[in-house]
C-alpha cells in the first residue's frame, strides 16, 4: 500500500512538474479573463457535438448509453422494468403527504413543482449562493418544521425522481442572474471542474471531457454535456438510488480525494456550472446506470 502510494506520489510530482512547465510556457492567460458563461457553453457543446457526430442532441443526457452502442442494447433490456419505478412510487406518496403543518412540497415550488427541475440549481439572491434541487427540497422541509433528509439517497432521491419525471423532455434552462455573486459562483464551479484533485491528481475534466465515451475499468465515461440530465439514478453498483451529489461524491472518492460535505458550496457550484453547460439538453431523469 505504502509502496504503491509512493509510486503514485512520484507520478503526481511528475504531473505537478509538467503543469508548472506548461504554466511557464503559456504566459499567464490573464487571470482577469472575462467570465463569459455563454461563450463557455457554446464552446463546450460544439466540442461534444463534433466529438459525437452521431449522438442526437436530445440524447446526451443518457450518458454512457448515448455514446456506446453495446451499452445501449443492454439499456433497452433494463428499461423494460426500470429499476427506479419503486423510487417513483415512494416519491409520489411522499410528495402527496402533507407536512405536520398541513402544507405540501408543492407549496414551496414554482408551478407546484411540476416541470421545474430543469431550472435547478438556482442562484438565490438572499443567500448569495447556489441552491440545488435537493437543497430546495430540504429548505422546503425545514421551513415547514420538518427535519432535512439525507441529500444523497433514500426519500430525497425519490422526491428528486418525481420532480425529474415531470420535467422529462424539458431542456435545461439554468439562469445566471446579472449579479456578480452569481457569476463568481459559476466561475468557482468551473474552477472546481478543471482543478486536479485527489492523490491521483485528476480533475472532473480529465475523465469527462476528452476521454468521454472511452472505457474506464468496467464503465463508459459519460460526456460532461448533459451529465446531470438523468439524475437521480438507480445504479446497480449501489443497489439503490442516488442523487447528483451522491454521484459527484463517488467521483471525488475515485480520484482518492476525501469527498466534501454533500451540501458543500464547491459541489453546489460545480452542479451550477455543469447544468449551465447543458442548457438546451433535455432532462431524461430519473435514470438507470450499471
Amino acid at each position: 500500500m505504502i509502496k504503491s502510494s509512493l509510486r503514485d506520489r512520484f507520478a503526481l510530482a511528475r504531473n505537478v512538474a509538467c503543469a508548472l512547465l506548461l504554466l511557464a510556457a503559456a504566459p499567464a492567460k490573464a487571470a482577469d479573463e472575462k467570465i463569459d458563461p455563454e461563450a463557455d457553453r457554446r464552446a463546450l457543446q460544439a466540442f461534444f457535438f463534433a466529438k459525437f457526430p452521431n449522438v442526437a442532441k436530445d440524447d446526451f443526457g443518457n450518458g454512457p448509453y448515448a455514446v456506446n452502442a453495446e451499452m445501449r442494447k443492454q439499456w433497452k433490456e433494463i428499461m423494460e422494468f426500470p429499476p427506479y419505478e419503486l423510487a417513483l412510487d415512494e416519491g409520489h406518496a411522499e410528495w402527496e403527504k402533507p407536512f405536520a403543518n398541513g402544507k405540501h412540497y408543492a407549496d414551496c415550488f414554482d408551478n407546484k413543482g411540476e416541470g421545474v427541475r430543469q431550472t435547478y440549481p438556482r442562484f438565490i439572491a438572499e443567500t448569495g449562493q447556489v441552491e440545488t434541487l435537493e437543497g430546495a427540497i430540504n429548505r422546503c422541509r425545514v421551513e415547514n418544521g420538518e427535519k432535512p433528509l439525507d441529500p444523497m439517497t433514500g426519500v430525497m432521491a425519490s422526491l428528486a425522481a418525481v420532480m425529474s419525471e415531470s420535467s422529462r423532455g424539458k431542456p435545461f434552462a439554468i439562469a445566471i442572474p446579472d449579479d456578480p455573486r452569481a457569476l463568481a459562483a459559476y466561475e468557482r464551479g468551473k474552477e472546481f471542474f478543471y482543478s486536479r484533485k485527489g492523490q491521483l491528481g485528476v480533475s472532473c475534466a480529465s475523465c469527462h471531457m476528452s476521454p468521454a465515451g472511452e472505457r474506464m475499468r468496467g464503465d463508459i465515461l459519460a460526456p460532461a454535456l448533459g451529465i446531470l440530465a438523468a439524475m437521480p439514478i438507480y445504479r446497480s453498483d449501489w443497489g439503490s438510488m442516488g442523487t447528483s451529489i451522491r454521484r459527484i461524491s463517488t467521483c471525488s472518492s475515485q480520484t482518492r480525494a476525501v469527498p466534501l460535505k454533500p451540501d458543500d458550496e464547491d459541489y453546489r457550484n460545480v452542479e451550477y456550472f455543469l447544468s449551465y453547460m447543458s442548457n438546451g439538453i433535455p432532462i431524461v431523469g430519473p435514470g438507470t446506470r450499471p
Binding site: 505504502i2 509512493l6 506520489r9 505537478v16 492523490q199 482518492r256
Partner: protein, 100 residues
C-alpha cells in the same frame, strides 16, 4: 583489527537506544500528521490515501509497533503536505486546463 571490531560493536550498542523508536515518538509523529491532515481537510484538499496511512499509523500504535507507526505517520504527513501543495498549485494553474 580486533580493536576496530570492538569499537564498531560498541558504537552500535551505544546508538541502539537512539534507533529504537519510543511510544512517545510514535504519538508525536501521529499528532503531527493529524494536524497536517486537518489543515488539508480545512483547505478541501485532503486525500483518502493520507487518511488510510493515518489509520495504519494508529493501528500500529495500538499494537505497540512504534517504528511502523512512525513510518506510516510520516507517510501521512508527507501526503497531507503534498495535497495542500496540489490545491495551491491548482489555484494558479487550473485555467490552463480549460477546454477552449
Amino acid at each position: 583489527m580486533i580493536r576496530a571490531i570492538f569499537f564498531a560493536a560498541g558504537l552500535a550498542i551505544l546508538s541502539l537506544p537512539a534507533l529504537a523508536a519510543t511510544q512517545a515518538e510514535a504519538e508525536a509523529a501521529i499528532a503531527a500528521a493529524q494536524a497536517a491532515e486537518s489543515a488539508a481537510v480545512a483547505a478541501k484538499a485532503a486525500w483518502t490515501t493520507t487518511e488510510t496511512a493515518l489509520t495504519q499509523a494508529r493501528k500500529a500504535l495500538a499494537d505497540g509497533k512504534w517504528d511502523e507507526a512512525i513510518a506510516a505517520a510520516n507517510e501521512a504527513l508527507a501526503q497531507a503536505k503534498l495535497s495542500v501543495e496540489q490545491a495551491n498549485e491548482q489555484k494558479a494553474s487550473w485555467r490552463n486546463a480549460v477546454f477552449r
